[in-house]
Symmetry: C2
Subunit: 186 residues, 2 copies
Amino acid sequence: MPAPLLPKDEVTARITGVFRRHGYEGASLSRLSKETGLGRSSLYHYFPRGKRDMGEAALAAAGAWIDEHAVAQLDSPGSPHARLARYAARMAEYYGDGRRACLVDLFGIGEAGALFRSQLRRRVKALLGKLAGVAEEAGVAPAAAARRAEDSLMAIQGALIVSRILGTRAPFRRIIQELPERLLHG
Amino acid sequence: MPAPLLPKDEVTARITGVFRRHGYEGASLSRLSKETGLGRSSLYHYFPRGKRDMGEAALAAAGAWIDEHAVAQLDSPGSPHARLARYAARMAEYYGDGRRACLVDLFGIGEAGALFRSQLRRRVKALLGKLAGVAEEAGVAPAAAARRAEDSLMAIQGALIVSRILGTRAPFRRIIQELPERLLHG
DNA sequence: GTCTATACGAAGATAGAC
DNA sequence: GTCTATCTTCGTATAGAC
């Protein structure tokens, strides 16, 4: 048995990158093979059901990174505003300062939508609950907190799309900057 | 020469529908053929460069509909608030009350992005200018008007994504409802 | 765990008859 | 303008050697 060329985590990271640049259907096995440096057979060794398993792995890896680095900030010490600012900063990092796409967008439509939408829904609902919790903790009424959590998420998703089309990071950066205020004071 | 099975406008409309449901790369010629009822050769008769021309036509048709039905409301009689409300209502119609995707999202990434992003950018910039103009007309300072126009667009794009993932139209409907207020009074 | 080789269908696209 | 037939490339997926 030859030694692995890359640890599986690194393979998954590169696969995730391909999905984020090309979308699910645009991520062909050739591209995935080239960008991981693994032949098709090696990819099937790691991901027996092929692209479907790769999408699953990308989703899990992205979710884990966000939970560990961004969502964790919401439970860390500090004022609600400070925690939200750290959360936003980490999300900005995840999105490559607005240059990288979100799997919630890419995997929500077409063939990928059928495969992954229910998983994404669970993750999104959990995140919305977390964000609303921070707002409530800061004294925002539950209904308003839920609304603003939803607004925060929509603002980021929309900012990614608009920044991508306009070719400028400014809208994304502004939304990240404003996130704590928007959630806490509408 | 046999008579056309469908007028070209109707063909384009159906093609646009396929793109909006499956994305650019997910819209295969087979699907496009099936949903238009035209064989491949007929499609190539209308769109000599194949999918690329179909994407172009979809973009043009969508842009024309939006200009004629939604953006036109911004130049029609009535208060800024009333015009924005009519604009929002027409956009909601375009988006099938939140169930149908936006080409700015779908055509912004991957292969489609390379083909269509510059066209989309022009359209988006024009729309942002129009929206900001209405806000300025209502007394909003230029910088704030530009910011809020951007916010309005991002909110709609984000609402479409979140509504799609959550499987509920409520977030989209809320954003549509709030659009005039957000643009005019932050 | 990786490789080469290959199966096999679907992809986009074209030719020529009517 | 539509059809059938065809072409080539690329798609996902597998087999078997090392």
